[in-house]
């Protein structure tokens, strides 16, 4: 009942000076809507970036890193104090590619996080169409699993991805590569490997990922055809690409696999730190901007609450004279801050959604996008609401404490 009396006083304070209440509400509303919008936008950008990045990148890659630098064997045997003179040292690569892939496949598949795994044979080759020569990467792929990991079939602009399965003579080119070599569907392209082997393939499809570097240098053939091109056995693989259920959480899987697989096990974060850095930096910017806005809104509330308290100073004094405790006075003003925070928070979330939706409809035709990207995550909305509430509580708490410390004698006697 005491609380309800305090609430009643708070309600009268809020409604009797409706304009100031609205100004305070607008501050919170604006702060929270910007927080929602900024975070949705940044999350959208990051999600788009992630999708783009993972068109050519698996979460975990297992490959043969080549032997370590073993050119000075003398030093290893005789120690640092022995002078040795070895000229033009050569490295003999004992193993190429990954051996015993079936066992590694089995091992990786047993990890509960793993949702996809595909073998690849990546070969550096020259693509030739008569006079035009371009170097690039020819990927021999397991057609079905490759698509499962990288969704290549959705990037096809000509031909069908699945056709590769049945066409040992077929190749699917990146759009940039096809253009530079003046190639179209059903044309022939000649491939020259570093070992000097050449072979003709028929263009059965063209893909476009919008990652320019991929589109200009990459082509796919069936994995069996790739083995044939290199004259390797049916177990030969250069890379094993693995996807896990949460691309952020590759570390535990890598930590588990690395000691038991005699090849390099590398997460995308290790090989593409710039991507991770970019995404983290955008997050930081978004949080900094939105928190700044909330802070400004907080100052607005602080000011208005302070004004209210200065206006109501006599009433506070009389309440205290009549026996209201410091706690009652604090609760009266904190209640006002809470009401402003909760109502402003709700309107702010709705406004934030509206702004995000409008921005999401602004055309943006670069890099395969049609509109500015936007993400709609409950988490962003919940966080904005919580931050908004915390801001208003702090902004309301300081003036409320000031009010609770008012000495009624000073006010009534002056």
């Amino acid at each position: 009942m005491m609380l309800s009396t305090n609430y009643k006083i708070a309600a009268v304070h809020l409604t009797s000076r409706i304009k100031q209440t609205i100004v305070a509400l607008l501050g919170v509303t604006f702060g929270i809507s910007m927080y929602v919008f900024m975070n949705s936008f940044m999350t959208g950008v990051n999600d788009t970036q992630t999708v783009l990045a993972f068109t050519a990148l698996a979460h975990i890659r297992i490959y043969n890193d080549g032997p370590a630098d073993n050119t000075n064997l003398v030093k290893k045997v005789y120690g640092q104090n022995t002078l040795s003179n070895i000229r033009n040292a050569k490295v003999i690569q004992y193993t190429e590619g990954i051996k015993n892939t079936a066992a590694i496949f089995n091992l990786v598949r047993k990890q509960p996080e793993v949702i996809g795994i595909t073998p690849q044979i990546n070969i550096n080759v020259f693509f030739r169409n008569s006079g035009n020569k371009l170097n690039g990467t020819l990927s021999g792929v397991d057609v079905e699993n490759e698509d499962r990991l990288f969704n290549i079939s959705t990037y096809m602009i000509a031909g069908k991805w699945q056709d590769l399965q049945y066409r040992p003579d077929g190749v699917i080119l990146g759009s940039g590569l096809a253009q530079l070599l003046s190639l179209n569907i059903d044309d022939n392209v000649n491939v020259l490997t570093s070992d000097g082997v050449t072979k003709n393939y028929k263009v059965i499809g063209i893909f476009q990922t919008n990652v320019a570097n991929t589109d200009k240098t990459k082509a796919y053939i069936n994995i069996s055809a790739a083995r044939q091109l290199l004259a390797k056995n049916q177990d030969y693989v250069t890379d094993i690409q693995v996807n896990v259920n949460d691309f952020e959480k590759t570390a535990p899987v890598v930590a588990r696999l690395a000691p038991v697989i005699p090849y390099k096990v590398e997460s995308w974060q290790m090989s593409n730190q710039q991507l991770e850095a970019g995404s983290k930096l955008r997050d930081i910017i978004a949080k900094a901007v939105s928190l700044t806005i909330l802070l400004v809104a907080g100052f607005g509330i602080y000011n208005i609450m302070n004004m209210t308290i200065n206006e109501k100073i006599k009433e506070i004094a009389i309440l205290k004279a009549m026996g209201f405790s410091s706690g009652d006075v604090t609760s009266i003003f904190l209640t006002q801050a809470m009401v402003i925070g909760v109502i402003g928070g709700f309107i702010g979330m709705i406004l934030g959604f509206i702004v995000a939706d409008i921005v999401n409809h602004i055309p943006f035709k670069i890099g395969g996008l049609n509109y500015l990207p936007m993400a709609y995550h409950i988490k962003d909305y919940a966080l904005s609401f919580i931050f908004g509430l915390i801001t208003t509580l702090i902004a309301g708490y300081l003036p409320a404490m000031k009010a609770s410390k008012i000495d009624p004698v000073d006010i009534i006697r002056s």
């Binding site: 005491m2 009396t5 009268v12 026996g323 410091s326 004698v409 009534i412 006697r413």
Partner: protein, 225 residues
């Protein structure tokens, strides 16, 4: 302590420190009997208001001892004193100090809602009775700020009475009123003290008001005359 004593002040000494140390109350001791209507008079700066605020428990920065209804109040915490004021002291100030955004009824009910010793229905009934005694029952649902000065002061008295306090304290309760309203307020106070045994302590400049009360205590330079 004599159960007939409402308030007992023992060797009250108070200093003001601004602008320079100054002894405003000089070792004052006195008692107020239950049902007594006492006027504190004196010129400006005599210390009468200062004394009233010490007696009211709102000012705790003094030396000496203060007892009301046999309860020692010196040394209690601010929140304890607030609770004590709520239950045992009613205030009527010069500028009536109602909450202007609340209606008359709410203003009168507030101290009782804080005290919580009765149900809301009982409090409403009591507030309405108080307003009726003071001739304000028609104004019950008006905003406090819409009333005339005399009406507001009567509302303040109704509010001071809501918890049946041991003492009503008035700081120039008629200071802002014309003679007709002053007379009305005086009549109410006398009625309260004589027929209901209500103890009343008021600070006043109003000679006429003071002379009609039961007992006058005049102050000068921090001492009783």
């Amino acid at each position: 302590m004599d159960s007939n004593i409402a308030l007992k002040a023992d060797h009250i000494v108070k200093y003001f420190y601004q602008p320079e140390p100054f002894e405003v109350l000089k070792d004052l001791s006195f008692e107020v009997k239950k049902g007594e209507f006492l006027s504190l008079t004196g010129k400006s700066g005599s210390g009468k208001s200062t004394l009233l605020y010490v007696l009211s428990t709102m000012d705790t920065d003094y030396k000496g001892q203060l007892q009301i209804n046999g309860e020692l109040l010196t040394g209690q915490s601010l929140n304890q004193l607030a609770a004590f004021r709520n239950k045992h002291i009613g205030f009527v100030f010069q500028f009536h100090y109602l909450l202007p955004e609340f209606n008359v009824m709410d203003n009168v009910m507030l101290p009782a809602l804080k005290l919580k010793s009765k149900s809301v229905e009982e409090i409403k009934e009591k507030a309405y009775q108080n307003l009726k005694i003071l001739g304000l029952e028609d104004q019950a649902l008006k905003l406090a700020s819409k009333l005339s000065g005399g009406q507001q002061q009567r509302v303040a008295i109704a509010r001071a009475l809501i918890n049946d306090p041991a003492i009503i304290m008035g700081d120039e309760p008629t200071g802002n009123l014309d003679s007709k309203n002053s007379q009305m307020v005086f009549d109410i106070f006398r009625e309260l003290s004589h027929t209901q045994g209500q103890t009343i302590i008021t600070v006043t400049h109003d000679e006429e008001f003071a002379h009609k009360s039961d007992r006058i205590v005049e102050m000068r330079d921090g001492v009783f005359l």
